[in-house]
């Protein structure tokens, strides 16, 4: 896929994933998963998932990271944090889902037809550009890229919001755009420095 950076072996990705997860505060708790399924039972979207949250950890342990990344599960996580607050082992599964999302986007490993990565990537571009999220431009770009016909369906609601004064036509920029760019550039350099120091470590995507 167009997003893929350097191709890596799955073993290497497996390692990167664990390294990143261990960096999350209390991240090593993932080792304590006893497969009780509290996460899956609490998840509001598990009914629509290829793998339930519990199965994500089981599949990862079984060396199936690629299938995990390409499952719809990662992008079905709405970030409601029920699993995180209920896990008896203190595993921050929502943060783990974020890590899987990042790996999927960085290496182009996500299921065909899943559109959430497009939204996330567009969001990042917009925020980098304006410093704020221009909701109309963001949604328009996302719809154009994923479902242009859907724009017709959305039009009546858009019109209603417009007449209620709830649609920002022109994106608003922050004054400190150059300041924000400097921060982003330095944060990227920090990420890359970490990669150089540890050649096998995770590189944050530069796209």
């Amino acid at each position: 896929m167009a997003d893929a950076t350097t191709p890596r072996s799955m073993e290497e990705l497996h390692k990167i994933f664990l390294e990143d997860v261990y960096k999350i505060p209390e991240g090593e708790n993932i080792k304590q998963c006893i497969q009780c399924g509290t996460c899956s039972g609490s998840c509001p979207t598990s009914y629509a998932m290829d793998f339930t949250p519990r199965e994500i950890i089981a599949a990862f342990r079984a060396g199936m990271l690629e299938r995990v990344l390409k499952s719809n599960t990662v992008w079905m996580c709405a970030s409601c944090y029920y699993c995180t607050v209920r896990c008896p082992a203190g595993i921050k599964l929502t943060d783990i889902m974020y890590e899987l999302k990042r790996l999927g986007i960085e290496y182009g490993l996500y299921a065909k037809g899943v559109t959430a990565p497009v939204l996330s990537k567009t969001f990042v571009k917009m925020v980098d550009k304006y410093g704020r999220s221009p909701e109309l431009e963001l949604l328009s770009r996302y719809m154009l890229a994923t479902n242009p016909l859907g724009m017709v369906e959305m039009a009546p609601m858009g019109a209603k919001l417009f007449f209620k004064g709830r649609l920002g036509i022109f994106p608003k920029s922050i004054k400190g755009k150059s300041q924000l760019s400097k921060i982003l550039k330095m944060a990227l350099a920090e990420t890359e420095k970490a990669v150089e120091a540890k050649p096998e470590s995770h590189k944050e995507g530069g796209h």
């Binding site: 944090y81 607050v85 925020v127 704020r132 709830r166 921060i183």
Partner: protein, 296 residues
């Protein structure tokens, strides 16, 4: 007048301006000021974090650095997603030295730094715990007697941090509604997820989750839903037509912000509360409590 620092967040600029306006108005009515922090940027929401890790913490921390410089004072958010992201950034920087150093190195490129001294709080917390329910009660001019309210908290107000309310079964908004004279209904799905951005990315799943909430609130006898999250508000009211088409019953339930309902009970000027900007008009339901112009 007591002052708090205020971070409105992107969605309150336009789409959910009524939440911003009513929050400022209610603060004034209760005798404190929300001082907007200068030139804030997007907190990163749930999407930036899904693409880049360090950079998402860095842009979020820029806001904390601005607040710290403008302080002292707690940083108040009303969008629950902003609340969770900013609080998470603060907490993770505190707990992870490596992350803190890297983020501060990035901030230094713009002559900024964050030393970890900002307390991120939600407006609901301030109203219930700093102002206090007794004081709120004392300011009520139009008690909302007979109004049945479903208090919908969504996810990110009390999860994952649970700072001022229970992650499983939050109650602060119910107590607040009672203080306003209204009757909170028993609403078991009050902290369940509305689907968030999935209404856009996986529409059928998002629609089902929101439908469950609305049908549950309706069954509980609610006249109105109040919420504390802009994305929840949009999801709750914007897809009711589609819900009717897909599942058969029209929920026909207005969804407004808790600050708007407070404004009505405190007798604050209706035009400053953004009422009427909703897609399901709450004014007929609120008509008997509104001073004038309501119920059209």
């Amino acid at each position: 007048m007591k002052q708090y620092l205020y971070y409105p967040g992107c969605s309150l600029e336009k789409t959910n301006f009524s939440f911003d306006h009513s929050s400022r108005e209610v603060a004034k009515g209760l005798g404190f000021e929300l001082k907007e922090i200068e030139d804030w940027n997007c907190c990163g929401s749930t999407s930036y974090m899904a693409v880049r890790e360090l950079r998402s913490f860095a842009i979020s921390a820029r806001n904390l650095a601005i607040a710290e410089k403008m302080g002292p004072g707690d940083l108040i958010t009303v969008c629950t997603a902003c609340y969770t992201v900013l609080a998470k950034t603060h907490n993770y920087l505190k707990e992870n030295k490596d992350l803190r150093e890297k983020v501060n190195h990035a901030l230094a490129a713009a002559d900024m730094k964050y030393s970890g001294n900002v307390k991120v709080r939600h407006l609901l917390d301030v109203i219930v715990n700093d102002v206090g329910l007794e004081a709120v009660k004392g300011k009520v001019k139009k008690p909302l007697e007979g109004l049945k309210v479903a208090c919908y908290y969504g996810c990110q107000l009390s999860r994952p941090h649970g700072t001022f309310d229970d992650p499983e079964f939050p109650v602060t908004m119910d107590h607040l509604a009672t203080a306003l004279g209204a009757t909170p209904v028993d609403f078991p799905l009050k902290a369940k997820c509305c689907g968030g951005m999935m209404m856009t990315t996986v529409a059928d799943v998002g629609l089902k989750l929101t439908k469950d909430l609305l049908y549950c609130a309706k069954e509980a006898g609610a006249d109105l839903v109040i919420t504390c999250c802009p994305l929840c508000q949009v999801n709750l009211e914007s897809y009711q037509g589609k819900i009717k088409k897909t599942f058969g019953t029209d929920p026909a339930l207005p969804a407004i912000y808790f600050t708007q309902l407070m404004g009505v009970a405190l007798g604050l000027p209706e035009k400053n509360l953004g009422l009427g900007s909703e897609l399901v008009d709450p004014r007929p339901t609120l008509a008997k409590y509104l001073g004038n112009g309501g119920g059209r």
